[in-house]
Symmetry: C2
Subunit: 110 residues, 2 copies
DNA sequence: TTCAATACCTTGTATCACAAAGTACCAAAA
DNA sequence: TTTTGGTACTTTGTGATACAAGGTATTGAA
């Protein structure tokens, strides 16, 4: 029941991960480990056990597709790509995110 | 398994409710129904079954205290107030929120 | 006394992030 | 050839929490 800074950040991130994944894949295709890297540089620490099921969920929803690609450094990688449906969803989420930011700003005003 | 706009918004809000409650109570004390009203005007629809347990959790963490006040319009109301610890937590959350917004902006940049 | 409005609370369910452990592939060292 | 280390994908169990739905209690007006 601690309230570390990490806990606070982790808590605030809930539900936003999905948005972040789509945003990254909108720029370029990526596989799980590279997504984790990019999320980390943006200050969002995510672990495998969180990311893999999330990617599978998004794929099952038709937001993503993937293709296998050989790697010179180990086993093959699953590269994920945004589908048309994923792009639509991302557009909706961009709007929702904007409204969320504005909503919180409005709460902050007296 | 639908992806309505409402679902998208609801999903993005997860974990941010706690932050919103503290932010509102930092401006003025409030009771549950008035919090729901203010959250609604900020575009965050919350139901009683969500809010009451959340307030109890925050109170048990020492972030909030409350006092009863008679109402002319029905049963007495539980007015919640930020404690010193709650203000500290809010300051931390302000920082975390700022970093979250910047983190997402950075993801959006190519 | 009955009803409607207001306010607080609880229970059951689904979802989701995480920790931890497991499976599989590959290349280089022993 | 076998072992080891690194990389990558997956699954299981747990805890937290948002929500739907239903319950309790107070007040004032019909």
């Amino acid at each position: 029941m601690e309230n570390t800074v990490e806990n606070v950040r982790s808590q605030m991130r809930k539900g936003l991960l999905e948005y972040c994944i789509l945003s990254i894949l909108d720029k370029r295709e990526a596989y799980a480990s590279s997504l984790i890297e990019e999320l980390k540089t943006a200050g969002m620490i995510v672990v495998e056990g969180t990311l893999y099921p999330l990617l599978i969920r998004q794929k099952n929803q038709g937001l993503l597709s993937y293709r296998w690609e050989e790697s010179t450094q180990g086993p093959p990688r699953k590269y994920y790509v945004l589908t048309d449906k994923g792009r639509e969803q991302l557009a909706q989420m961009d709007g929702a995110w904007q409204e969320l930011v504005e909503g919180i700003q409005s709460l902050k005003r007296v």
